[in-house]
């Protein structure tokens, strides 16, 4: 029982990070109906830069700041270089391929200049050994703080979206870009800001995951990207609460399967859930069915 509870707790924490990744994907999906395939590499890049700055003898927080700033800038640049210029091309081949290119490039860059071996990521939020005991269940302090950060960000995001002018502008752009432009909303600025925010969210998620795993390497992001996407799909594409729900559900499932069946099977869970979800309820748990206009 205690084992199960610990698995569920770990699942919730990991799932909250998946929700952050999903949120980053949702943001660009709203703004441009596209998704940044480089998001996984941005997660990796932020953690690697933090490690790099630290090993250069500087403070870890300076490293985190540098990492987040850079991922934000790169995400915005991705939109400018890889998405906007080819928006006129029909079909999805365009931006999927170009943003994948950005991701591959970043991955290649890191493995070339930081080595393809895993880098140790320092514990900066408590140590991996600290824990809090609740009803006899040992809850890792690190996991708890990660859960807190992730949930706080999701809440802040939902507040921002519903309560601020920029949030409403983003919703307007999501609903109809042309109409939003006609109504005087600076669509370009909204889109760029969304990409910056999605890059920063990816960076935060990357650092949090690296904190749990303790290492980071060049290939670190792709599996996470899929997990984040699956979280978004389970919850319903574009829904903030759905992302949180989907992320936590995925996290718990993964940990339970990993704990009771085999850690090898853990890897397949995200994919299996994606298949089931798309087959049974493609609009997600909290999403609404869209009619295709012919």
């Amino acid at each position: 029982m205690i084992f199960a509870a610990q698995l569920v707790f770990a699942g919730i924490c990991v799932g909250a990070v998946y929700a952050l990744i999903a949120l980053g994907l949702n943001l660009t999906f709203w703004a441009t109906r596209t998704m940044n395939f480089a998001q996984g590499s941005l997660m990796m890049l932020c953690a690697v830069i933090a490690v790099g700055v630290l090993s250069g003898g500087f403070n870890i927080y300076l490293g985190l700041f540098a990492g987040l700033a850079l991922t934000g800038i790169i995400a915005a640049a991705t939109e400018a270089i890889a998405i906007r210029p080819i928006a006129h091309l029909t079909g999805s081949m365009g931006w999927v391929v170009t943003t994948l290119g950005v991701g591959i490039f970043l991955q290649g860059f890191v493995s070339k200049f930081f080595g393809s071996q895993a880098l140790a990521f320092p514990s900066f939020l408590f140590s991996a050994r600290d824990y809090v005991s609740v009803f006899g269940i040992r809850l890792s302090a690190q996991y708890m703080i990660i859960l807190a950060i992730a949930v706080l960000l999701v809440l802040l995001f939902e507040l921002f979206l519903k309560r601020t002018a920029w949030g409403r502008a983003l919703q307007a752009v999501a609903a109809d870009q042309d109409l939003a432009a006609v109504m005087g909303i600076p669509v370009r600025v909204v889109v760029t800001l969304s990409f910056i925010a999605s890059g920063v969210l990816a960076g935060v998620a990357g650092v949090l995951v690296a904190q749990i795993t303790g290492t980071v390497d060049a290939a670190f992001g792709f599996n996470l990207l899929i997990s984040g996407f699956v979280a978004a799909v389970i919850g319903g594409m574009g829904s903030t609460w759905g992302a949180l729900l989907g992320g936590i559900f995925l996290g718990i499932m993964e940990k339970l399967v990993g704990g009771y069946i085999s850690t090898a099977a853990e890897q397949g869970i995200a994919f299996a859930l994606l298949m089931v979800m798309l087959a049974v309820r493609p609009e997600g748990l909290l999403g609404e069915k869209e009619f295709v206009k012919v």
Partner: protein
Amino acid sequence: MNTFRRLMGRVLGQSLLALAIVVALWFGAGLTDRGTVQLLSFLMLNILLAQSINLLTGIAGQISLGHAGFFAVGAYVAGVLTKTHGVAVPLAMVIAIAASALIGWLLAIPAGRVREIYLAMMTTGFGLLCFEIAKEWSVTGGVVGLSGIASPTLRSLQVFGWMVDTVDLFRVMLVATAIVLVLMRNFVQSHHGRSFFAVQASEIAAGSIGIARGQVKRRAYAISGAMAGLAGALYAHLVGYLGPDSFTITRSVEVLVMAIVGGMGTIIGPILGAALFTWLPERLQIFAEYQFMVYGLILMLIFLVMRRGIAGAITEPTRFIAPRAMKRRPDDAGKPVTLQAESNAPQNRPALLEVHDLGRNFAGLVALDGVSLALRPGQITALIGPNGSGKSTLVNVVSGIYDPSRGRIVLGGDDIGGEADHAIARRGLIRTFQDPRLVPCFTVRENILLGGQRHFRSSMLAAALHFPSTLREEIAMVRRAEYVMELAGLGAVADQPIESLPYGYRRLVEVGRAIMADPVVVLLDEPAAGLSEAELGRLAAMIRYLRDAGKAVLLIEHHMDFVNDIVDDVVVLDSGREIYRGHMQGMRANPAVRAAYLGVSQDCHA
């Protein structure tokens, strides 16, 4: 430049040249060193892989970012069967191909339901999953991998008692690749290949001419899987060792890069791409060092720099009609289709399509509210009404794109309500769209020919093997297309890609495609919009042709003069309901119609 491309197209299209290259490689391999033979063997693998993704992504339009998965399935099935279970090499190879085809077919079931980012993520997930399984499963040897698979380097590859050395294996791969390429070319230049392209261009439009999109996707995934599986099985015996690191996402990206840089949607492109990226890392140290970054940059910039790849830059695009069907003597030019003369007056003939009390809601919004219609052979009925009155919804429901919320749709005596759009099209109900939906890279001729889809009978195997019956069928259809183009006045632009032609042509081509389908009932959704005076004349001739051929025609149109000239009967819709039915003259005077269009209340009308 254009002359150069045409010249290149003619040179590269020569089967003699292809044969000469195969023969040269066959004998050349015996004369050169082992390193070169090894490199050429990898070239064959890369050609197979690049063509495999080309068929799925470039031709059927289903993006694949997990192609290493199929490659892995083929490689491990062949490796495990021969090494662990002692199965004979040729049998293991056949099983490996079948297994990866099956995996592709199964993947198509969920993947066929989704598009764009979902599909991209799903295929990425598939690739990663295959990698993880290879890494974790004991059968595949886990991280350590599977070594000691029968191969020429270990001098252990025996087939029917014959010891296969490196050169022999290369020759086997050469012949296998050549056969796959020939089959693929034949397949692409048949109605099967055209249906793949139609699904890529627009799934809705493909359905409207009777192409079952789910079936097309399952076929595309299965064939593509089989090709990659063949490459995998050959790879297993070429290197003798399989480790999970050969099947990472890097491999999937590499395959994608080869096909895109070479030129997707052509036959020659992926061959050129495979050649380039087999040779570059071998011969250019700097490239090998920065390989991954270079792949990233290429994917980032390819659409800006060279959208159609190398093939698009140096040669003419591949065409999608069997060249032999196009080569015919001038004396057997298309003959007009003989028309069935009906003795009854149109009003007395039994209706071909009957719609009873049809309704359709969209989450509370009532778009159609109890509409009834009867379309008779040889009669043109106009359907008019203000914007949002439900005209297009009616066409969408009748053609099977939306399910009806209530009511019955009877076509030729059968209730077709709720049937899939492609099944309805196959029954002979053909529609056109408000915005013409054609295959942009197809020529006018190819687009018109697409209309004939529901009449083709050749199997995929017959198409790939170029059976005489397939060719006869293709010739007959090409002739019919010729006749339709003449009717539509499109003969002069027959071989121009549709994307290079002005808007009016697209409309005429779409109506021509509908005529080509030899339908029972035709629904035309605003065919006259945006046409010039001359084009209107041709359109009218085409619609009259349909009427004279005994088809039932429903014409949605805002262009009143055009409607006035050709229709027999008119039905007016407003807010999803019928408000008038009868002659044109009566309609103009009808108070309800005037109110709907002009917004005057009926009492004010004098």
